[in-house]
């Protein structure tokens, strides 16, 4: 409509009218000196490992701002959909920007509680994992700056673990390390849980060498691995330390274990 009315333009010999819509210079153009940065990194590390009938999630309890330690006890592990009657079988761990982590946890928790209220049964880990992905992706252009790991038991009672990137890509895995010391812990887990680079001695030469077969580890062994992973990460990474919180999910409930780590 407007294009029809404007066709031909106004004759120049008549009294003029200003129709120029050339945009006025806006305030936001030009370089900005000091912009507000809505993110920070609160350090710390998390990890998750699954077994045949359990899942373990772990995280250190240190919270940092740069070289400062904010507090020595700020848990990164949360029971999701917990009504205070220990019915929950899902655990979320978040590491990265703690404020986003908390907001994410609260949203997922509210959704899982509403699901139980509306359907009269608890949400499965699989469904919860998919929902967490959509929550993260909904903020694709202003992401929750966190690396999340979700753990629980699947419909067959097997340990289930899902890991996420900040914008919602996710994958079910056997084990995953995240956060500041992820690059220190993950190779250790690859070797000790998935037996990467382990071969059966004298099973052949060169490419004939047989890799060691993966087996699902007993709970006690995994607890040992997790503690070793964190004591070692504490030695090598300044943002990791103070305390280790482990949540072990089995069909009987969620067991919590706290072990002190070095505080330096």
């Amino acid at each position: 409509m407007a294009s029809i009315m404007n066709a031909g333009g106004l004759p120049s010999d008549q009294p003029g009218y200003s129709f120029s819509n050339a945009s006025a210079p806006s305030e936001s153009s030009g370089p900005r000196q000091h912009a507000f940065n809505p993110y920070t990194d609160n350090g710390g590390s998390t990890l998750g490992v699954t077994g045949a009938d359990f899942a373990i999630l772990a995280g250190d309890t240190r919270s940092t701002s740069g070289y400062n330690i904010n507090t020595r006890y700020a848990p990164k592990l949360f029971r999701i959909g917990d009504d205070g009657d220990s019915s929950s079988r899902i655990v979320l761990s978040v590491v990265g920007f703690a404020a986003d982590g908390n907001a994410l946890k609260e949203r997922l928790d509210a959704i899982v509680k509403m699901y139980k209220y509306q359907h009269g049964k608890p949400m499965s880990v699989k469904a919860c994992a998919q929902r967490l992905s959509t929550i993260l992706y909904q903020k694709r252009f202003f992401p929750y700056y966190v690396h999340a790991i979700l753990g629980g038991l699947d419909d067959d009672g097997k340990g289930a673990l899902y890991s996420y990137d900040p914008v919602g890509s996710y994958e079910r895995e056997q084990c995953r390390a995240a956060g500041a010391a992820a690059s220190l812990i993950m190779p250790f887990l690859d070797n000790q849980v998935n037996y990467k680079n382990q071969y059966i001695p004298a099973s052949g030469t060169g490419h004939e060498l047989q890799p060691r077969a993966i087996e699902s580890l007993p709970k006690e062994d995994v607890i040992g691995l997790v503690k070793d992973a964190f004591t070692s990460a504490t030695e090598r990474h300044i943002e990791v330390g103070d305390g280790l919180q482990m949540l072990i999910i089995t069909k009987d409930g969620i067991e919590e274990i706290y072990t002190p780590l070095k505080r330096d």
Binding site: P15, Y17, F19, S23, S28
Partner: protein, 262 residues
């Protein structure tokens, strides 16, 4: 009137001059605070067995200018919560108004029972701060909330302009995080387990010592400060404390201090 309908109702250039389109331009992006203006420095807080001690000095700086020297940065919320504000003073005053209207609303809804304790207020304030940072319109503050939790146990937690929250038996914002926090942590060798061994006197003394260290070393600090002790019985707030027992004896040995300029 001419036969160009698109010209009808608009001012004629030969009568009114060329139309200033900039008034018509509603599309300039909304801008927000990108930096704080008048600011307060550190806030310190320590738990002890029956409650929490919290302190902040009375200075509000404008950059490096000591602009206002009588600004109370501890605000109380009935019946027994104290909030200490660091960072932008106008944002502090906004939050203070927000808390006052919250208090009025709470009292209107029920005049008896159902009080908001320090933990409730900390949750609320952290949501306000997180919402504002998510709108890219932050409230430029670091704050400490001191009081009691649901079980009447000492509560001390911090919240900042990003919505980050954490709790610890000793807390300090700003410069205090570097200078005071290590000193305060000496009181709590076993963190939360040590709180029961700390008396009110120990906590007050530690805070006063730290305020002095901060006055010595933090250029945006003042020797006049507010200190509050929060317990189950209420808030004991003193707003015009002077730092005691300062020692500047070293100064006359050093060139450049005091009257000795050369």
């Amino acid at each position: 009137m001419n036969h160009y309908p698109q010209a009808w109702g608009r001012p004629r250039d030969d009568v009114y001059g060329p139309y200033d389109n900039s008034y018509f331009q509603a599309s300039a992006p909304q801008t927000h605070t990108q930096s704080p203006a008048v600011t307060g420095t550190s806030v310190l807080g320590v738990k002890f067995k029956d409650g929490v001690v919290i302190a902040a000095d009375n200075l509000a700086s404008y950059g490096s200018l000591a602009r206002f020297t009588d600004v109370k940065r501890l605000r109380t919320f009935p019946p027994n919560t104290v909030i200490g504000f660091g960072g932008d003073v106008s944002d502090m005053q906004y939050l203070d108004r927000l808390l006052q209207s919250l208090d009025i609303r709470e009292n209107y809804l029920s005049s008896y029972g159902h009080v908001l304790n320090a933990k409730n207020l900390h949750t609320y304030l952290s949501k306000v701060l997180y919402k504002r940072r998510s709108d890219f319109n932050p409230l430029w503050n670091m704050l400490l909330v001191a009081g009691l939790d649901d079980d009447d146990k000492p509560f001390l937690a911090s919240a900042d302009l990003l919505g980050t929250t954490f709790s610890s038996p000793t807390l300090a914002t700003g410069f205090g995080a570097h200078l005071a926090q290590p000193l305060l942590r000496k009181l709590m060798p076993h963190d939360e387990d040590s709180v029961k061994d700390v008396t009110k006197e120990m906590a007050v003394e530690a805070i006063k010592a730290c305020m002095k260290v901060l006055f010595y070393r933090d250029a945006r600090s003042l020797d006049k400060y507010s200190i509050a002790v929060v317990t189950k019985d209420g808030v004991e707030l003193k707003e015009d404390q002077k730092l005691e027992d300062q020692s500047w004896a070293f100064a006359d040995q050093i060139r450049g201090y005091g009257t000795q300029v050369n």
